[in-house]
Amino acid sequence: MWREAALVAGKDLRIEARSRVGLWQVVPFAVLVLILVAFAIGPDNASLRHAAPGIFWIAVLFSTVLTIQRSVAIESGEGTRDGLRLSGIDPAGIFLGKAAAVGLQLLVLQIVLWAGVTFLFNVRVHVFWLAIVTSLLATVGLACAGVLYGALSAGLRVRDTLLPLLVLPVLAPVLLAGSKAWQAALDGSSSSGAEWLRILIPFAVIYLVIGIVLYGPLQEAA
C-alpha cells in the first residue's frame, strides 16, 4: 500500500511540477487573499497583527479548495479515473498518495504564506515548535478530508461549485484550532496553544482512517 501511495503521489507531484498550476495560480491566489483581507481590515497595524493568524488560515483553507479541485481535475480526463481504478492499485494507496501530494503542496504554500504574513503584517512567531506542529497536523487533516470530498464530487458537472460548499464547513474546526494555536505561537503562550492540538489530532486521525476505509466505495460511486 505504501509503495503504491508513493507511486500515486509521485505521479501527481510530477504533473504539478510540469504544469506549474500550483505555483502560478494557487500560490499567487493565497497571497492575494492575504492582501485583500488586509484591505478589508484597514491599514491599522495593531488590528492586522491581531487578525494575522486568522487571515493566514483563511488563505490556507481557500487554497486547499483550489488544490483539491486541481487534484480531482488531474483525474478528470477521458477514462483516466477508470484507468486508475483498473490499474489494480489498492484504493487506500490511491487515497494516501493523493493526500500526500496535496499535503506536500499545502506545506509549501504555508511556508510562502508564513513569509507573507511575517512581511506584510509584521508578526513574529515566538513558539516555533507549536507553529510547525499545528501546520503539520492541520495539513494532514486538510489533505485527507479534502481528498475524500474531492472523490465525492469527482465526475460531477457541478463539481467546482459543489466542492467548496461541501468541504469548507467540514474544515471549520481546522480553521478555528489552527488560528487559535497560531495566535498562541505568536503571543508566546505555548500551553494555551497546545490545547488546540487536541482538536487537530483527532481531526487528522479520523479523516486519515476514514479515507483509507471509504476511498474504495467512493471510487465506485464516482
Binding site: 465525492l152 458537472r157 460548499l165 461541501l166
Partner: protein
C-alpha cells in the same frame, strides 16, 4: 390526471400527524396562556417550551435517523433503497429543524444577550450543521444513477456525522455563553416544576411527533420522485406518440406503469 400511479399513505402516518398537531396546539395553549411567566426571565422563558425540543429533534432525532440510514445502506447485508430514502428525508427535515433552532435561538438571544446573533458555541455549531446539511442536499440533487447517488450520499452523511462532534467541541472551546443544563442537571433532577414542566415535556412530544410525521411524508415524496424518474422517459415517449394521433391524449397508467394512448399506438 395521475401519471405516476398512487402510493398509499399509511394510516399510522395520518394518526401521528393528527396527534402531532393536537399536541402542538396544546403546547401553544399551555405555553402562552396557562403557564405563569418565569420569575427571572419573564415571558421570554416561554420560548424555552419550543427551542430545546426543536434543537433535540434537529440534532438527535434527525441526525440519528440519517446516520443509521446511511450506515445500513453502506452495510452490504442491509443495503436497500429504503435506508437511502430514509436518510435523505431525515437530513432534509433535519435541515428545517436546524434552521428553526438557529432562528428561535436568535429570537431568544436578542432580549437575553442584547444581540440577534451571539457567537455562542451551540448557536454557531448548529449553524455549521445547517450548512453541512445543505451541502448534503446539494449533493443529493446532482443527477446520477440511483445506486451511485445513494452510495455517495451515504458516505457524505457518514462524513458529516463524524464532523459534527469535532465542530461541536471546537466551537465549545472557542467561546461559550450558552447556559448548560437548565432543566436537567447532571443528576437528572428536574429543575422546572408544575405546569411549566408539563408544557416543556409536551413540547418534546409534540415536536418529536411532528418530526416522525414530516419524515414519513418526505419519505413518500422520495418514493414518488424516484417513480417519476423511472417513468419520465416512458411518459414523454407516450406524449410524443399521442401528438401524432387525432384528438388523442393520455388516459392513464396501466398496471405495469405503461401509458396507453387513446386510439392505440400510432
Amino acid at each position: 390526471m395521475n401519471s405516476i400511479g398512487t402510493v398509499s399513505r399509511p394510516r399510522w402516518l395520518t394518526v401521528v400527524g393528527i396527534l402531532g398537531v393536537v399536541c402542538m396546539g396544546f403546547t401553544v395553549w399551555l405555553g402562552l396562556w396557562v403557564t405563569p411567566p418565569d420569575a427571572v426571565q419573564g415571558n421570554l422563558a416561554r420560548l424555552l417550551y419550543i427551542h430545546p425540543p426543536i434543537a433535540t429533534v434537529a440534532l438527535y432525532w434527525a441526525g440519528g435517523v440519517a446516520l443509521a440510514g446511511s450506515l445500513f445502506y453502506l452495510w452490504p447485508r442491509t443495503r436497500s433503497f429504503f435506508w437511502d430514502r430514509l436518510a435523505a428525508s431525515s437530513v432534509e427535515v433535519g435541515a428545517v429543524f436546524s434552521a428553526l433552532t438557529c432562528i428561535t435561538g436568535s429570537i431568544w438571544g436578542r432580549p437575553a444577550w442584547g444581540v440577534w446573533w451571539a457567537w455562542d458555541a451551540r448557536l454557531t455549531s448548529t449553524a455549521l450543521l445547517f450548512l453541512l446539511e445543505l451541502g448534503y442536499l446539494a449533493l443529493r440533487r446532482v443527477p446520477a444513477d440511483p445506486a451511485v447517488r445513494a452510495r455517495r450520499c451515504a458516505v457524505a452523511a457518514l462524513l458529516i456525522a463524524l464532523d459534527v462532534p469535532i465542530v461541536h467541541f471546537s466551537v465549545d472551546w472557542w467561546q461559550t455563553l450558552h447556559q448548560t443544563g437548565t432543566v436537567l442537571d447532571p443528576g437528572f433532577h428536574l429543575h422546572v416544576h408544575g405546569s411549566m414542566a408539563w408544557t416543556f415535556l409536551l413540547g418534546f412530544i409534540a415536536f418529536s411527533l411532528v418530526f416522525v410525521w414530516l419524515l414519513g411524508v418526505r419519505y413518500r415524496i422520495e418514493v414518488l420522485q424516484d417513480r417519476v424518474g423511472d417513468q419520465e422517459m416512458e411518459v414523454s415517449l407516450a406524449e410524443r406518440w399521442s401528438e401524432g394521433s387525432d384528438g388523442s391524449e393520455l388516459v392513464g397508467v396501466g398496471p405495469s406503469g405503461h401509458h396507453v394512448p387513446e386510439g392505440g399506438a400510432p
